[in-house]
Symmetry: C2
Subunit: 337 residues, 2 copies
């Protein structure tokens, strides 16, 4: 890891001491983001953490409005998630899906009974005129989430993927129904141009002490957030204070299609591709030890590079990573050799 | 019961022998109708029974399209209903409602987990463009219902009740949320004038050998069906073959607000009021033994009157009643004294 030594700057992140008054704004997708955020709310006060969450994956199924990333983050921060399965709620039951199966209904998108209650609640509240940001505040409050979760927008923005030589499909069709096992040639965010950031989003970007781009898919999780008018500019203006965490480790995503998508869309499936994608918005990129050999290339894109273990096997790993990301602690020794 | 003796005509209903080839079309509301229909499919072949079902109570809750009367009839004919509770499915669980309660959601309309699957299925199919009649055929087929259930219309017709000196509310608001414990001064069927009978409805009225108006609320269960353009005329044309079963016994409804509503709307809470309401469409009214003393008054409205036990404590009672209604058997001895 000699090659990496020159670019390990975790010490420089530690200028600001770990403090209850450090306000953090994080851009978040699903599972990877949820895990890092769980670490963050342990590293600082939960009430000092604001997450701006991707809603490009939102969908309506069976008439129910479903916000997969908001729910993943909510359940994880509420301590309700199923860590073993990696998604959904612990102790979940599947009575409705079993009955729907008997009816011959569509069950490719598995909705647990408790999870369904969230969708019923959200759908009812939206139908009665409440914006998604308000409904999100209600749900997170009811489920004991201390951090503040903001949908990126109250307006509909929908991630659409054009398959190679084929049709354009929704994100959930791609991700769940087709198990992201198809080639994609283009991604767009339908409705983004007309959307407005949800109340509080631009403020959260302007006023945070530190900004974090969570280890989420840069194209389909962070991409939609950046596509909401005003967000890219606000984040770019804070570039020096933005730390991105690479979701790519050793050339592949830990979960999901980030690696494949990055290749298919011409960015290359490595932390260098991630660095290039974030060059405009993040002055610092945190990469895993496994990618230490690419640190010089990362720095060549104009980003500071921090090498540290990024795989969050446990909440403790997540807390350690959060401390490094927030600059509140030196990176573990292994990354400072 | 001397006074009733002159009007007991159950023998005259027995002209046509019980036969598999007798096609029955029944107008149906909820629980009372479901019970009589369960008797009918035992008395004749299920495939010879067509039920035209009220959809004026249909509602959208939590984004889900709910058809309470269609579901009650479906579950009962599928042998899936909870006879003890009197509504919903046997062995039902309430995981979703429990979780919705924790979220602070609206739970006044109890939706069991298996029941929810029906609503998810229906909502998804309607959203994909299938008409309610087709979705109903799919659900009844999946749940093993041998009879043919037709929604009265594929178009939205919504029963609205104006409270005395107060606002106009939906049927479910009246029936479930307010436990029909409020005074009503008017009922109307929003959308009825623009609605069309569902495919097969007018045919089923024209071609049936015998037509039955089930013991449902005349105002808010049968009323909406008759309000669909074409239905009243088709039924009136078959008046001689139409047998109505009174939902009123001894001046009150066995279940629900029929008695109170009839009084509030000026019809009087007795079988005589029912007879007057059905005078144009039914040549025969079946009333309970408890009302034998009113038989002469019933006949004065122009209807033949059959006195027989009408309370369906068990499926066997329902089958016996169905046989009397269909004229396939003499009424029990008690009514022919």
């Amino acid at each position: 890891m000699i090659g990496a030594a020159s670019c390990v700057h975790s010490a420089s992140l530690a200028q600001r001491p770990d403090s209850l008054s450090t306000v953090i704004t994080a851009l978040a997708g699903g599972v990877g983001a949820a895990r890092l955020l769980r670490g963050m709310v342990r590293a600082v006060s939960a009430s000092d953490v604001i997450a701006v969450v991707n809603t490009g994956d939102d969908t309506v199924l069976h008439g129910l409005y479903i916000s997969p990333d908001l729910d993943t983050v909510t359940y994880t921060l509420g301590g309700l998630n199923d860590d073993e399965r990696g998604w959904g709620l612990a102790g979940e039951t599947w009575k409705v899906m079993e009955a729907l199966e008997r009816l011959g209904g569509e069950t490719w998108f598995g909705l647990g009974d408790q999870d369904l209650a969230t969708h019923l609640y959200r759908t009812q509240r939206l139908a009665s005129g409440a914006p998604l940001s308000q409904v999100t505040a209600e749900i997170t409050s009811a489920l004991g989430v201390g951090a503040r979760l903001l949908p990126m927008s109250d307006d509909p923005v929908r991630t659409r993927l054009r398959l190679a030589g084929g049709p354009e499909i929704s994100f959930q069709d791609y991700f769940v129904r087709r198990h992201h096992d198809v080639a994609v040639e283009a991604v767009r965010f339908d409705g983004a141009a007309q959307s407005r950031p949800a109340p509080g989003v631009l403020d959260a970007l302007d006023r945070a002490d530190k900004l974090v781009i969570c280890p989420s898919n840069p194209v389909v999780s962070i991409g939609p957030i950046l596509a909401v008018p005003g967000v890219l500019d606000a984040l770019s203006a804070r570039r020096e204070d933005v730390v991105a965490v690479s979701p790519i480790v050793a050339g592949a995503a830990l979960k999901g299609p980030a690696g494949r998508l990055l290749v298919e869309l011409g960015h290359g499936s490595s932390v260098v591709g991630v660095a290039r994608l974030y060059a405009q918005v993040a002055a610092t990129l945190v990469i895993d030890e496994a990618d230490a050999g690419l640190a010089t290339e990362v720095e060549a894109t104009g980003a500071r590079c921090v090498v540290t273990p990024t795989i969050m096997h446990t909440p403790e790993h997540a807390t350690t990573l959060a401390r490094v990301v927030l600059g509140g602690a030196a990176a573990p020794a292994s990354s400072t050799r």
